[in-house]
């Protein structure tokens, strides 16, 4: 069993108004992990901890086998990092940035960089400050991708991109895991992107990991059941049911542990299961967060 690419265990970080608690995260080679959470949940903090830009208060951080923050320079030799709030040097050109990064990474693939310039429609002699938002994001991605890193860490890589640019970026990201020794961790609000290309998905809210599993399991286990409830009958609340909303003779049940047997449980209690609906990742995400917050209150 090869070593995981990212391994966080019991990571904690305290700020005045925010705590990151007991963060556990594991990413294996060949996989893409989508990191999902509301604003302020701690995605960026977690990502910066695994990039050693922030030091954890407690817990272990290992990236590509290197403990962080001690061996951060060694780890970053094999990482490409793009963050939505990251900037390049405004007055300098993209070509200058390419020369600069290429001189630092021996694995720089100049042919691939040229191909990406073309694909992303970027002009290397243009100063960075003159680029539009989308062009700047693509330029920063180019600088990360062309060094062919073993690990790509992306904080909101497609935010603010038009659909065509998003499509181009996703295509390049998928190309990375053609090599099963490489891996990607990316955080996004765009649950559609996450749903499409992630192998593993981790949900974070208010500084805590609230769920982490492979995508197919999430999509398989979460369901909305539409029930017809005859008067006088109370629908049962089996294990795994997150929420039951009833009004009159209709009830909607959200469950995170669906099996076909569940239909039988309701039928036997006199409730008709009218429809069993799959949920999109966005719906799963919202339901997961909401139920987690309710639990914290009670």
């Amino acid at each position: 069993m090869t070593e995981p690419v990212i391994e966080l265990e019991g990571v904690e970080k305290s700020y005045r108004f925010f705590q990151l608690s007991d963060v556990r995260l594991r990413l294996d080679a060949g996989q893409i992990m989508g990191f999902v959470g509301p604003n302020g949940a701690g995605k960026s903090t977690t990502i910066r901890i695994l990039m050693a830009m922030i030091g954890q208060d407690r817990g272990t951080v290992r990236v590509l086998g290197h403990p962080l923050p001690r061996e951060q320079a060694a780890a970053k030799r094999h990482i490409g990092f793009v963050s939505e709030d990251m900037r390049l040097y405004g007055p300098a050109t993209l070509a200058w940035h390419i020369r600069f990064v290429a001189s630092i990474y021996p694995g720089w693939d100049a042919a691939y960089a040229s191909a990406l310039l073309h694909r992303f429609n970027l002009h290397p002699e243009q100063a960075i400050k003159l680029l539009s938002h989308g062009e700047r994001v693509k330029a920063t991605l180019l600088l990360a991708l062309a060094r062919r890193p073993r690990l790509l860490v992306l904080d909101e890589p497609t935010t603010g991109l038009d659909p065509v640019a998003r499509h181009e970026v996703l295509a390049e990201l998928m190309d990375v895991v053609r090599d099963e020794r490489r891996a990607i961790l990316f955080s996004s609000h765009n649950t559609q992107d996450i749903e499409q290309i992630s192998d593993q998905i981790t949900f974070i809210d208010r500084g805590r990991i609230i769920d982490s599993s492979d995508k197919e399991t999430f999509l398989d286990r979460w369901r909305r059941l539409h029930l017809d409830v005859p008067p006088g009958v109370t629908p049962p609340a089996p294990d795994g049911v997150i929420e039951t909303t009833a009004s009159g003779r209709i009830a909607v049940v959200t469950t995170k542990a669906y099996t076909p047997e569940l239909d039988g449980v309701y039928e036997r209690a006199g409730v008709t299961v009218r429809e069993v609906q799959r949920m999109t990742l966005e719906e799963i995400f919202v339901a997961n967060v909401m139920s987690n917050r309710r639990e914290k209150v009670t």
Binding site: R48, M51, A52, M53, I54, G55, P69, Q72, A73, A74, K76, R77, I79, G80, F81, S83, D85, M86, R87, L88, Y89, G90, P91, A92, F100, V101, S103, I104, Y105, P106, T140
Partner: protein
Amino acid sequence: MSRSIVGQLILKDLYLVRWMIAGSLVAGAAALAIMPLSPVSAYVGGVSFICVLVILNIILVMGAVVQEKKDKVLLFVLSLPVSTSQYVAAKVLSNAIAFVVPWVVLTVAAIVVIDMSQIPNGILPFLITVLGYLLCYYCVLLAVALITDSTAWHSTVITVGNVSVNFLIPFLLGLASVARHREGPTAVWTADIAAILGIEIAAGAAALGLAVYLCSRRTDFV
């Protein structure tokens, strides 16, 4: 590892401020050029000369250190294979080179100009002490910018630094040793001048040393 990352970062920083360095050399040279022409121009040239170095100081530190943090270019640099202590070392060294090189060039040029013109050489200890103060000021401002992100602190140091130069000059001119020898044809280095120079160097070094020490203990860079 072909070339050290610290070296690469230093070269990168110097490239980005190349026009500031060039500009300060040109402006400083111009200020020196007008000094020998007349007593008035000597005064104007002298003040301008000092201003050039003060301005260079401020725009280097504010531009290269503070702006990089504010603009989140810091994130780009920290994503490179560099440890945070290497980053700080590169920042200190590149900034030091960016300021010290023009400072040395202009100081030597000033000495040469004064020596070759009819401006009395006796003024040199005073001038060197003022220039030494500017170097010390630079070290302190760089140290403060490395230690804290607070613009309040930066503004305070800049204000105090600029204002204090205005007090330093009459103070130095009022020193007995300076007043006695400054119209003379030779530079006379007295003990009190030497002491002041010693304090300037020590203070500058201590400030930078403190900054490097505090930064090396820092774990959060963003």
